[in-house]
Symmetry: C2
Subunit: 138 residues, 2 copies
């Protein structure tokens, strides 16, 4: 399951995408529109900013805005940033790999093989689908 953090991030990004024309959007506006604790959302938006996904502006007329088009923001990027590994086991993670103890040889480990396939199938979708793909179509 994705954490609340990641779920909130998706909803915030969707809101930002749907309101690009309005310029910078207030944290408080996103929070109330999407029913997210404003302080919690602050942290999330900051992380997205530090990762280069969002830009921000302080002071009056400030707020957050997308730095790229929705199509250029893969879902996998957001999940990895806020949730960590997408793989089901550390030993098959591409970005957060950890060798498994008790496993002499990953090459002949059946668990490793199946979980690699699961990872690949998941990534094929999450790397190729972007923020654009989760915007509500009328």
């Amino acid at each position: 399951m994705l954490s609340k953090k990641t779920q909130y991030a998706f909803h915030a990004l969707i809101y930002l995408a749907e309101n690009v024309d309005k310029g910078p959007i207030l944290i408080s506006e996103i929070a109330s529109e999407k029913s997210i604790s404003i302080k919690f959302l602050e942290n999330i938006l900051l992380e997205l900013k530090n990762a280069g996904i969002l830009g921000s502006k302080k002071g009056k007329g400030g707020g957050y805005y997308l730095l790229r088009t929705p199509k250029e923001i893969p879902l996998a990027r957001i999940i990895r940033l806020l949730d960590g590994p997408i793989a089901l086991l550390p030993c098959v993670s591409l970005n957060y790999y950890e060798r498994c103890e008790n496993c002499k040889d990953e090459a002949i480990c059946g668990l490793h093989e199946v979980m690699s396939k699961v990872r690949d199938a998941t990534l094929k979708l999450l790397e190729n689908k972007s923020l654009k793909d989760i915007l509500t179509r009328e």
Copy 2:
């Protein structure tokens, strides 16, 4: 990521499958072979027993054993039992479904659509791959 509980369950089941010919296997033997806390493993094996996956025998000569052939034990079954939902969001879970607030219509929710696809791709593997598939091939 799969919990330790599920990971331990897989290792225990693999050990049981690889030693079917030896009759009932002691919890303590599995625990020491697989470096798992014996008390923690107890709980896990009990859950597997209550779910009808393992059988057990008390007293001398007792222990745990598989009730079915490895081929008849899908990986998805174990994961759902010990870890819960396989889907990334409650609103796309088949076995642990929860409606999402803030979402007027799942039918037109883009997030719902993508996450359903991820679930399907994952399940296609985890429902069809079984304990047999994760046994180490020489």
